[in-house]
């Protein structure tokens, strides 16, 4: 019996020592698991992004390179860039200010994904609102999108090109247009996602009017305004003019283009305004 008492006491002491050891390493373990939890959410978010979001927001979230899920063909990106400084940098990012969002950044992204954006191509994702994703999946996607925020992305000095009032002044700075490059940009900026292929079938256009005849029509839209100036303004300030037959005609959501924010996206480096010149050359608006 004495032996049993000794064995029992020693076991009890060993157990206490082990528990003490476990308690000591606990703070660092908890931290590791907190990070691990987030890491795995990001992994899962990456998988969901690949299967659900890439066709519109692009392979690296820059809304530049999009592929049709079924055929694998490159298509115009219908979505906005998410791997994008103005969306992710600062506690209150530029996009949150533009969209009048008062809450936190994760909540901004979560709300956008959950409910989609009414009147745009951004679908509703949350099961609560009729979408296909569960709340935990939305949460994983939010973590994934936020993970694009890096010092590198946010340390790039914020640049905003001051767009001149007239197309002539722009052309003075960027005189040469490249139609071939414009053709590519028309896809990567997502113009074709809404306007369809201007060299193809007009029935193809979905959200915006087909632009195969834009070169002839642009000059007739606003009295006294050249076609060049009209297109220039239409891209930068979509709300300035709404195509007449638009609310009922080919485009189901007249304000759709506004949030694409080409004013900012085509002007966030000193060279970018060239993109607009190239696109306009491709559309036959500029020679």
């Amino acid at each position: 019996m004495q032996v049993k008492i000794v064995i029992g006491t020693i076991s009890l002491m060993l157990t206490m020592i082990i528990l003490g050891f476990a308690a000591l390493r606990e703070p660092s373990r908890l931290e590791d698991f907190t990070l691990a939890r987030q890491g795995r959410q990001i992994e899962n978010g990456a998988e969901l992004f690949q299967s659900q979001c890439m066709t519109c927001h692009g392979v690296n979230g820059k809304a530049e390179e999009c592929y049709d899920a079924a055929t694998g063909e490159q298509i115009g990106c219908a979505g906005l860039p998410l791997n994008y400084g103005p969306l992710l940098c600062e506690d209150t990012s530029q996009r949150m200010i533009n969209m009048n969002w008062e809450g936190s950044k994760p909540a901004f992204i979560q709300a956008t994904i959950s409910s989609g954006r009414y009147g745009t191509a951004m679908p509703t994702w949350a099961a609560d609102f009729g979408g296909p994703l569960r709340p935990d999946e939305i949460e994983d996607l939010v973590q994934f999108v936020l993970n694009w925020e890096t010092e590198e992305l946010c340390s790039a000095p914020a640049f905003q090109y001051e767009w001149p009032a007239t197309i002539e002044e722009l052309l003075a700075e960027f005189p040469e247009g490249d139609a071939a490059r414009g053709k590519e940009l028309y896809v990567t900026y997502g113009c074709s996602g809404c306007h369809g292929d201007p060299e193809g079938d007009s029935a193809w256009a979905g959200t915006g009017p087909w632009q195969g005849h834009l070169a002839e029509e642009a000059g007739t839209r606003i009295e006294g305004m050249s076609g060049q100036q009209y297109v220039y303004e239409s891209v930068l300030y979509p709300n300035n003019y709404i195509v007449e037959q638009c609310p009922t005609g080919p485009c189901n959501t007249p304000s759709a283009m506004a949030s694409n924010n080409f004013y900012a996206r085509m002007g966030d480096t000193a060279e970018k305004p060239q993109d607009l010149v190239d696109i306009m050359t491709y559309l036959g608006i500029l020679p």
Binding site: M1, Q2, K4, I5, I7, G8, T9, S11, L12, L14, T15, I18, L19, A22, A23, E26, R29, L30, D32, F33, T34, L35, A36, R37, Q38, G39, R40, I42, E43, N44, A46, E47, Q50, N60, R134, P135, D136, E137, F144, N147, W148, T150
Partner: protein, 568 residues
């Protein structure tokens, strides 16, 4: 009797306090004062009348325990302490389970994040969770061993048939407790194991209308969801433990009533002398058995705490997803045999056979009426028991995906190297060692990449196990001699199959590549690319596919792989 202040006046403070303490101890122990306890611990003879018997008569906790045992049944043999251990495990599970309950809400919306909260935010949460889950598995083993020992020592025979019968019900309850807890983390493992298992109800040999309603009751809805989770939670924390607790007392009451059976060789054939214990063969509960039980409790606690800390980690897969069925849905090992049977026999037959088997077990002692409990007289019975055990072990193995699960060879490689759930050697390669680039199975990247090399070696093994050669191996980093020759079989429809003795429909001379690229800061995409040309027509692909997984720098699969129960 004098009041405390009077006592102080009479004998002084010190003596009065000692007297009071003595009185309190005597009340708490229902009969033993301090010097009685010290005498018991020292191993002295008790005074007369024996104070060590009074707790059995007067206290609640000990009134169900006998005050002495036959010395013959207090050694390791014949009980192996297994019945006692089963009880200990039940208490252990109750305590750890109640702690977990504090941090758990049975709702599909939060159950899974509750698990992560326990792991990442509750001090010692992982330890408690591991202790509970390890305890559940140990309890199943211990109860099964206890059953085995009562069979082998013939303790189920008259007059203990009813003890055995309640035992079988306890076994079922133990399994159901373990299994109902399985669902609670609401991860893929849990969700699909349960979905597949309870779908068995559909195939029961009963009218369809009954089956459908049983299934509906088990799932709480046409498929497992919020209602189902709540139901299984209540089963797990309320109904099952309650029934097990009640049945335990029935079981144990019978054990005490009949006395524990002596080793078979100790009594005449056909006699039961357990209750007639001569004075010189008594071992008293206090102090001997009590000490022994406390020692075993301390040892088991040590084992379970250390095991849960270093050896065994409770799995937690990704969130339950009703639309994605994992490639291999496996039952927990203690129910794997049923999956094995399902692969061989008709579902209705299996689902009908299991309750029939249980009834057979319950009534067995009433039909098996051989008088002798001695081993030499029970050759047939013992042989049948061992055959049955062998049968269960083989069935259990057949229940694992290793036996007869059809899936494509590339999938088999993929889920071994980049599993949908849990860790693997590749996922557990330390993040700094992960290189961006394309790698071949078996490639050696030099001494700076020991873990990645190991993972690529694993990939080579997996590829070799799922492919064969028709004479033109394409993966240069695997020795030509390692490929097994294909047996080419032409099917009726003219298609060809490439087989070896170890598997059918393998990849003939595949080209496999692992691509690693960074897609976000601290996030890698790992892609396995398979190109398997048609051997007869190199312009066509038999298999051309890829498989992707992601790996974040912090996801810490390394930690998981430290444990012995993870296969990486």
């Amino acid at each position: 009797m004098a009041t405390f202040p009077e006592q102080i006046r009479e004998m002084g403070v010190k003596q009065a306090v000692i007297a009071k303490a003595d009185e309190v101890v005597e009340r708490v122990t229902a009969g033993m004062n301090i010097s009685d306890i010290r005498a018991a611990l020292r191993g002295d003879e008790p005074r007369r009348p024996n104070p060590r018997l009074r707790p059995h008569a007067d206290s609640f906790w000990l009134h169900i325990r006998p005050s002495f045992y036959h010395t013959e049944v207090t050694h390791i043999y014949p009980t192996f302490r297994m019945g006692w251990l089963s009880t200990f495990m039940f208490v252990w599970e109750t305590i750890t389970g109640i702690i977990l309950m504090i941090f758990y809400t049975p709702s599909p919306l939060v159950a899974y994040s509750n698990m992560w909260n326990i792991l990442s935010n509750v001090p010692l949460g992982q330890l408690i969770r591991n202790m509970h889950r390890l305890g559940a598995e140990v309890m199943v083993i211990v109860v099964a061993m206890h059953m085995l020992r009562t069979f082998i020592t013939g303790s189920y025979k008259k007059p203990r048939q009813f003890t055995w019968a309640t035992g079988i019900i306890l076994l079922v309850l133990t399994l159901m407790l373990s299994f109902s807890g399985y669902l609670l983390p609401w991860d893929q493992l849990a969700y699909w194991a349960l979905t597949v298992f309870i779908s068995g109800a559909e195939a029961a040999p009963a009218p369809a209308i009954i089956n459908q309603n049983v299934l509906l009751i088990l799932q709480g809805a046409p498929s497992l969801g919020a209602g189902g989770l709540l139901r299984w939670y209540l089963l797990h924390v309320l109904l099952m433990p309650l029934m097990l607790g009640i049945l335990f007392f029935v079981h144990y009451y019978k054990v005490v009533l009949h006395g524990m059976s002596l080793p078979p060789g100790r009594e005449e054939i056909g006699e039961d002398t357990a209750k007639r214990v001569p004075k010189n063969e008594r071992t008293y509960f206090i102090p001997d058995l009590l000490t022994s039980e406390l020692m075993w409790s301390a040892l088991m606690t040590l084992f379970l705490v250390a095991g849960a800390l270093w050896l065994w980690d409770a799995p937690l897969e990704t969130h339950a997803n009703p639309v994605v069925t994992p490639l291999h849905v496996v039952a927990p090992w203690y129910l794997s045999w049923s999956q094995g049977w399902l692969k061989l026999a008709d579902k209705t037959l299996v689902v009908g056979f299991i309750p029939a088997l249980l009834v057979a077990f319950i009534v067995m002692p009433y039909f098996e009426v051989g008088k002798s409990r001695r081993y030499a007289d029970r050759r047939v019975g013992l042989s049948v028991a061992f055959l049955f055990m062998a049968f269960m072990l083989v069935s259990n193995w057949m229940g694992t995906p290793e036996y007869r699960v059809a899936s494509s060879p590339d999938r088999e490689v993929s889920i071994e190297i980049l599993p949908q759930e849990g860790a693997s050697t590749l996922l557990a390669v330390p993040y700094d060692e992960m290189l961006e680039g394309s790698f071949l199975p078996g490639q050696d990247l030099g001494e700076n990449y020991p873990h990645l090399n190991e993972a690529l070696a694993d990939l080579a093994h997996a590829v070799l196990a799922n492919s064969c050669t028709v004479g033109a191996p394409k993966i240069t980093t695997i020795e030509a001699s390692e490929w097994k020759e294909c047996d080419v079989v032409t099917l009726e429809n003219g298609d060809k199959q490439y087989n070896t003795t170890f598997g059918n429909d393998l990849m003939p001379d595949p080209y496999v590549l692992l691509e690693i690229e960074e897609v976000q800061p601290k996030l890698l995409r790992l892609t396995l690319v398979y190109d398997v040309p048609e051997p007869d027509n190199p312009n066509e692909f038999r298999i051309q596919t890829s498989w992707t997984a992601y790996r974040h720098a912090d996801s810490n699969y390394e930690e998981e792989c430290r444990y012995a129960n993870k296969n990486c």
